[in-house]
Symmetry: C2
Amino acid sequence: MTIQELTDRIDDLAQLLSGNELVAASDAVAALDPHEIVTAIERLSPRAGAVLFRLLSKDRALAVFDALSPAVQGDLVRQLRDSEVATVFADLDPDDRVWLLDELPASVAQRLLQGLPARDRQLTAAVLGYEQDAVGRRMSLDFVTTHPGLTVAQTMDRLRARLDDAETVYTLPVTGAGREVVGVVSLRDLMSAPDDATIDEVMSDPQTASATSDAEQAARVCADRGLLALPIVDSERRLVGILTLDDAARILKQEESQDVARQGGVEPLGRPYLSTPIPRLVRSRVVWLFVLAIGATLTVQVLSHFEATLAEMTALALFVPLLIGTGGNTGNQAATTVTRALALGEVTPRDILRVLGREVRVGSLLGLALGIVGFVIAGAIYSWPIGVVIGLTLIAVCTVAATIGGVMPLVARAIRVDPAVFSNPFITTFVDATGLVIYFLIAKTVLGL
Amino acid sequence: MTIQELTDRIDDLAQLLSGNELVAASDAVAALDPHEIVTAIERLSPRAGAVLFRLLSKDRALAVFDALSPAVQGDLVRQLRDSEVATVFADLDPDDRVWLLDELPASVAQRLLQGLPARDRQLTAAVLGYEQDAVGRRMSLDFVTTHPGLTVAQTMDRLRARLDDAETVYTLPVTGAGREVVGVVSLRDLMSAPDDATIDEVMSDPQTASATSDAEQAARVCADRGLLALPIVDSERRLVGILTLDDAARILKQEESQDVARQGGVEPLGRPYLSTPIPRLVRSRVVWLFVLAIGATLTVQVLSHFEATLAEMTALALFVPLLIGTGGNTGNQAATTVTRALALGEVTPRDILRVLGREVRVGSLLGLALGIVGFVIAGAIYSWPIGVVIGLTLIAVCTVAATIGGVMPLVARAIRVDPAVFSNPFITTFVDATGLVIYFLIAKTVLGL
């Protein structure tokens, strides 16, 4: 089914649901596979999504719930009856449960946890014990291990016994006496080896990540190296879980959505746009807008300071948006490039001097190019002294903006703030005020005001 | 090894390389695993990277080259001798070859292709035949298939024969008489089934993607559903390749880097920041800066038009950066949210009216909140009529900005332009000029100028 067709069907379904034609809606849902139902729920309002969810058979409901994003699961939980929630909650893997618990109010989370069988509650608590951003909170506990002294045949038997419930059977951590990870072996390696070979002959060096390390970093290692499962270890290198490639992809998707949102000056929604209620959209933006507007009052103050100069020569006001706009754009470019490089692990805060050196050079070259054009155009149309002011201002503003834009994300990371927070709108505001000061100082000097 | 330690070692290595102390450098490289060497090459200049690469044994060189990003592979190829290039090129998989060919000048690409054995050349040409963005260009051709009538035991034999060279043996497409895909079966399913069961009893419904469909969309399906391999089919549903989960993760990483870059008004670098030469950084930004600056001359024109009003009341100039800044921020927020929703497939261009309706409401609510505060502050500090002007302008500007920002990405997608291109800096510029017109019209009306 193409996306167009699916969208049409979902829109029809929405009509049926809002008209309370549940029999027809149920027929329409029967024709969709679980992932298409997920798309449907993510386009509907939370209420309509819950009605649709109730139309599903138990098995399908569990499959659909499992594939929903945690935020939408949270919405759904708030709409369903307690008994319905308990059923789907008990069916989730411990790590998926933790994603969901993070979305729920503490009281609901508490109640759900208490409803679990003792062993499940214990496993979930183990995962919950790690900090919000740690990979320990995202790892899976259903893994199969083997040992260096076991044979390939013995390992295959262990593996067959866990075919039904293990998160993956394609990559197995190899653990030594104290449960420390000494290697990994893939099912492919096992199949190519003779039955009586021992694991230490076929295993390869393990890449591992500490359970307390940042989930995004661990996920990036997993994805960059195409590892089907990355063993997660404690401080003594003992195996505590695995991160699978599909969970890694999920973490990266969430992190990237957050980075993109922050760089645009929005709080991450963490949920699909169309099913997000308007008040929540407003909330995701209003705080940032106020913070930025308060920052922007700096520009009002700078301009008041130069009001006499402005009154003497109104023409100076004409170029204000152009100049600060160009400064903001230059700063954003640098910040965007460096923030992304940080996220991908290409630069670290310790590279700050190298980044500074590069951005000073890039910014001054850009400023020179724009400044020459600005000088010629403004000079020809208005007057040559104004041309000089515009040209010099562009050189100075571009250099300063690129430098601030490039260095700010590194400073943010060094003081443990999300670099994307010190982001484009923030840099724009900061560069705006600085640019105005530079502009009027140059104007006063050159024009002798 | 932590990232800190690795960075230190790489910096030492860079010193050795620049001092031409190759023996010591060779020892230092010997202590690194292939992925650490990849990190090293991505931090070094192309020339130093090539020197380092020559220090590697053939096997390690091939493993390292394979794991480099295509852009860095391209840099390396330009630095190496033809015979060295031919060796690594022949070793790549057809789909990896195509990533690299996309980075090279046509003449080099042609020469490399001619150096390949006939069969490899043919396979590569098959992949090259698809359009730049199509998943056909990123799929792998080394797959193992099975048929509905074969038994599990027969399938396991087929699979064992391909353990060495197949891209994955964990998910097998099931093809019917005319090579059309009728199902998929996982190695896990095969292992849980009795040996004499036939494939049609154990296979499940296939999710497939057309070879001509967008690579990002196919990769997103693969990652969202955690599919280890997605069968890629032609227009008659015949199997032509597979997309593996790690290739999907690679495609998404590249696409996301592009989206992030475009939204910041930079051309995507496609390569690590620190190893990118300064002129290339300048080139990635200068065109956008000029385009945006030309757009910003609109603001100069608007302001000239209202120059008399400005001269009469200089105080109006003080609020220009604040007002257009707030408009730009509101527009960016909407654009960021909708662009991301488009990338994730949550909205399509056909949702334009729903998006429009939502953004008008969100924008006017945000404008109301900011406008009331603006009215009170500006009114108390300057004068109540100015307060009214500021308040009304904020309401109008926020509403217009959110609407334009939300709708623009959908329009871009509808006319088949990358939505991220019509991005934040672009929207800022557009909203700046519109905001100024609104501001002065309101000011003239309210203040009777």
